[in-house]
């Protein structure tokens, strides 16, 4: 099979290669994309113009350069997911430079299958299934074409590739469901494995959260078990910040000791729920304020400040169930009260001055806090997605000059004002609200629901939550972010007013995605165990046995179908069928018909050899000729012929 490939076949192969590489182009360095495109283009042209392939030194040189280029682009890390993919893509393209015959096609096709897989390390969304099927069918079509001497019509090869892929689908499903899964990873993941960083960050500066509003990505989905708390109580607690550097809030000191969570007095009715968290490459696990420490996942810690953290970065979608109490008292005294009072020197002098004066009017901590909220509510403060840029004294400028801000401005300013008056305060970030998906019965919390609020420590209640944004824009808390922002803001598309149809489509699509995530992408050792034990297949041996039987059965059915199609065509003519039956009997008896022998000659020849059969055979031949050449098919003695043939015995 070491033959040259027809020109069109080569072009088709190059087109499929381009298709398989294309989604990677977004991630590859620009030089590499250019190199790959150039190589593919050159190869297509070289085949057409019959140029010579480059000499060995050039191929080696290019390969070495590409290798160095990848090393350089990825800071010398060749083993990572990004660098590995980049290397695979460029090497597959360079293989084209020495691409001659059908054997090389096989190598390139295998590389293409492999490249397909690397794509899923970056994205496993629902649309990638379509991409997978299209690419597998196209690649398989290339393989079919290279097994044939001449070029085949793409319509034909695609249909053949499609038919094979279609017949392989049941096997794929069986293997997917029944192939015993073992918990990974087997050898550890490269540092850049999994999803990209997204969502809340570990610091909060003005503008950080409002930039998240632009994203309509899902942060997590929540299914409540039982009563659903009202929107105003749906605070999803995330990172807690205690350190203010004059502009940004950060986590300065966190107490993370297992079993040493917040001292809380949980009251009222528990809320049970399940969260499916999208991977965010951070450690935060979000929980409804305030989670019960006894309900947290095994690999998580509830910090002293009430923040829930996973032990490892969340690289993959994860699901956890929690119990929370929306009514609680966090009466613990701060371990280090001073760190909740610290303000950097030389920042926001006007704010400090203002706080002193206001404090003199309201010696009670809570009165003082309420006074500030009243100011936010009654004075012309605006809740806006597009606040003006702020300078060095960001809180001063916001409070006294611009008066336009988003939740991070209000919470930051409020916390600074509290600290300036000697009231311990900290900023809590997370999400607020969540939208019901009527079809799935779950709530979707998006990145655009990101929020920041404040906790102050007041004797004797302890830490209490104050949301200054609620004073400015109560709709934000009671309804949603869309309701709180005016239409004039130029909202991002995903937040503009929803028609019923749009809501329907979005909710349906989200439900499909949620099910995709929950049923397919999350299908691992645990879910498999859970699912298969319903059918009594709870151990690996039974799984393998069932899998083997199911695969063998499916393949046997397919084999039978293919053999039926490959079997000699059934003769249309009933009389001819009977005649063939007779010929087979005689062939078994050692007297096969000769290629150019009519029925009568044949019968006479056999009769001469076996006189005892002569009468029966002549009778049959007469019936056959009569049936076959009878003008009126109604009167043909078919039945008689069939009977005569069947009752004819050679023994």
């Amino acid at each position: 099979m070491n033959e040259y490939l027809p020109l069109v076949s080569l072009w088709r192969l190059l087109a499929v290669l381009a298709l398989v590489i294309s989604p990677h182009v977004l991630r590859l360095p620009v030089w590499e994309t250019a190199l790959i495109a150039a190589v593919i283009g050159w190869r297509a042209l070289a085949a057409y113009k019959q140029w010579r392939l480059p000499p060995v030194w050039l191929k080696l040189g290019l390969t070495a350069l590409a290798f160095i280029g990848v090393l350089w682009s990825y800071q010398g890390r060749i083993s990572g997911q990004n660098a590995g993919t980049a290397l695979l893509c460029v090497m597959a393209a360079l293989k084209l430079l020495e691409f001659r015959d059908r054997r090389d096609v096989m190598v390139v096709v295998f590389l293409m299958y492999f490249m397909l897989m690397t794509h899923f390390l970056f994205s496993q969304e629902l649309w990638t299934v379509a991409y997978l099927i299209v690419c597998v069918v196209a690649t398989t079509a290339v393989l079919v074409e290279c097994q044939h001497r001449g070029a085949l019509a793409p319509r034909f090869t695609l249909r053949k590739g499609g038919a094979i892929a279609l017949q392989a689908l049941p096997l794929m499903l069986l293997l997917f469901i029944l192939f015993p899964r073992i918990p990974g990873p087997l050898w550890g993941l490269p540092a850049d494995a999994g999803a990209a960083r997204s969502g809340l960050s570990d610091r909060m500066a003005p503008g950080d959260i409002s930039s998240l509003i632009e994203s309509d990505e899902t942060a997590f989905r929540v299914t409540f078990d039982g009563a659903v708390p009202p929107p105003a109580a749906r605070y999803w607690r995330g990172p807690v910040f205690d350190n203010f550097d004059g502009r940004a809030w950060e986590e300065g000191f966190a107490t993370l000791v297992p079993g040493y969570g917040p001292e809380v007095d949980l009251r009222g009715r528990p809320v049970r729920y399940e969260i499916t968290l999208e991977p965010n490459r951070a450690r935060w696990l979000f929980a409804l304020d305030m989670p019960d420490e006894s309900s947290i996942p095994e690999d998580a810690i509830l910090g002293r400040e009430g923040q829930l953290l996973a032990r490892k970065l969340v690289r993959e979608r994860r699901r956890y169930t929690l119990t929370s109490f929306t009514d609680y008292r966090m009466a613990q005294t701060p371990q280090h009260p001073r760190r909740y009072l610290r303000l950097p020197d030389g920042f926001n002098p006007r704010t400090l001055d203002f706080a002193q004066r206001l404090r003199d009017q309201y010696p009670q901590d809570l009165d003082y806090a309420r006074a500030i909220l009243r100011i936010f509510r009654e004075q012309p403060y605006v809740y806006t997605l597009q606040p003006p840029a702020l300078g060095r004294h960001s809180v001063d400028e916001f409070l006294f000059d611009t008066r336009r801000g988003f939740c991070e401005h209000y919470s930051s300013a409020f916390a600074v004002l509290m600290r300036a008056a000697g009231v311990p305060s900290r900023v809590v970030t997370g999400y607020q609200g969540g939208q019901l998906n009527e079809f799935g019965g779950y709530y979707v919390v998006r990145q655009s629901d990101a929020h920041a609020w404040v906790e102050i420590w007041v004797a004797p209640d302890g830490w209490i939550r104050i949301d200054p944004t609620a004073a400015v824009a109560p709709e934000r808390i009671e309804q949603s972010i869309e309701a709180a922002l005016s239409e004039l803001e130029g909202l991002p598309g995903h937040l503009s007013a929803r028609t019923r149809l749009r809501y329907y489509l979005e909710a349906r699509w989200d439900l499909i995605n949620a099910q995709w995530n929950g049923l397919v992408l999350a299908y691992g050792p645990e879910l498999q165990q859970q699912f298969l034990s319903r059918f009594g297949l709870d151990d690996m041996r039974r799984m393998i046995l069932t899998l083997t039987i199911a695969i063998t059965g499916t393949l046997a059915l397919l084999g039978l179908m293919l053999l039926r199609k490959a079997a000699p065509a059934r003769t249309e003519d009933a009389a001819l069928r009977e005649w063939h039956r007779l010929a087979r009997k005689l062939t078994r008896a050692g007297l096969p018909p000769r290629p150019a022998e009519g029925p009568q000659d044949y019968v006479e020849r056999v009769a001469a050899a076996r006189p005892s059969w002569a009468a029966a055979l002549r009778h049959i031949a007469g019936l056959y000729l009569h049936s076959r050449y009878q003008l009126d098919p109604e009167t043909a003695p078919l039945r008689e012929l069939a009977h005569a043939v069947r009752s004819f015995r050679t023994s």
Binding site: N2, C146, A569
Partner: protein, 333 residues
């Protein structure tokens, strides 16, 4: 010995398995007049080199999918595994139930290549693609071809013709790797095929002898081309111009005028004229003379021990002579 066997199994599992199967099957292949129907139980199938490579790739992909717990990677791996398994059945079905029958085989001269025609009939409504027929161990050089639905395809099996006589066809394979090249399905068959091999013609130059016995003519007679030499009885094919009309009323049947030139064309190629040479060389020389005489459009006869072919010319005559030479004392040769 055992160590060597294990070594071979480990190094070339494919070749080892195929050799074992082949040896087992070859011992059971019967020579048949044909047509031979390739039934399910005559088709053998094993992965190709690429098939093993594909399996290795799937294993790596499976490990990768496990490591990353990546469901889409699992789906792709399992889809490809399914494709490989499905492909096995397609490859198998691509070969099953075709029928083999022997076609023509043009005679050749020793030293040339004999081309056995093999007809592959496809009685089914599904076309067959990329079938290849070949002798054992020569699969690499086979030229694959397609057979249309309910159609027939012509395949060539070439064998070097070593020496004169009957060249018997051997056990041959019909194989396919279509559609994906991951599996090699094959069958062994032996049809009653044989090719007549004429002796290798001797080099040019040896003039035909002035054949012994009658009819010997010196070249000096050639000058008297139109010289009247006598009358003989009319044979079909003689031109009316050559009929001796004058004698017709007297003899009641036509006579034909014979001239010296006509007479000298009855050339006798005689075995005994080459007594100096050994058997094969004699046959080679006679073959050469047959070809030369035919090329010169002369009548010639052949005299071999035990065989006598009267003078004549034309393809059938030439064939009869060459065949007699090819099969001369064939049992001894």
């Amino acid at each position: 010995m055992r160590f060597w066997l294990i070594f071979k199994i480990l190094l070339h599992p494919l070749r080892w398995a195929q050799d074992r199967i082949d040896a087992w099957v070859m011992a059971r292949v019967k020579r048949q007049p044909g047509p031979i129907a390739i039934t399910r139980n005559r088709v053998y199938i094993l992965p190709t080199r690429f098939g093993y490579f594909f399996a290795l790739m799937l294993l790596v992909m499976l490990l990768g999918a496990m490591n990353y717990s990546n469901s889409m990677a699992f789906l792709l791996t399992f889809l490809l595994a399914g494709i490989a398994l499905v492909c096995m059945h397609h490859t198998h079905a691509n070969l099953v139930s075709v029928q083999l029958r022997a076609g023509n085989c043009e005679p050749v001269f020793a030293g040339e290549t004999a081309h056995f025609e093999l007809r592959i009939d496809n009685p089914s409504p599904t076309p067959r693609y990329s079938l290849a027929a070949s002798w054992p161990k020569l699969e690499e050089h086979a030229v694959p071809g397609d057979v249309a639905a309910r159609g027939s395809g012509l395949f060539m099996l070439s064998l070097p013709a070593g020496h004169r006589g009957w060249l018997e066809g051997r056990v041959f394979s019909v194989s396919t790797e279509y559609p994906l090249g991951l599996f090699h399905a094959w069958t062994w068959a032996e049809l009653d095929m044989r090719c007549l091999v004429f002796p290798k013609p001797a080099a040019h130059g040896g003039e035909p002898p002035a054949a012994g016995g009658h009819g010997g003519l010196a070249s000096s007679d050639r000058s008297g081309q139109d010289e009247f030499a006598g009358l003989r009885s009319y044979r079909r094919g003689d031109t009316p111009r050559s009929i001796h009309w004058k004698s017709l009323p007297k003899l009641q049947h036509p006579m034909v005028k014979q001239f010296a030139e006509t007479l000298e064309q009855d050339l006798w190629l005689d075995w005994s004229a080459l007594a100096a040479l050994e058997v094969e060389a004699r046959l080679s020389q006679l073959t050469r003379w047959v070809l030369d005489a035919e090329a010169a459009r002369r009548n010639y006869g052949l005299r071999l021990p035990g065989t006598l072919i009267p003078p004549g010319r034309g393809d059938a005559h030439r064939f009869a002579c060459l065949k007699a030479l090819a099969l001369y004392d064939a049992d001894a040769g």
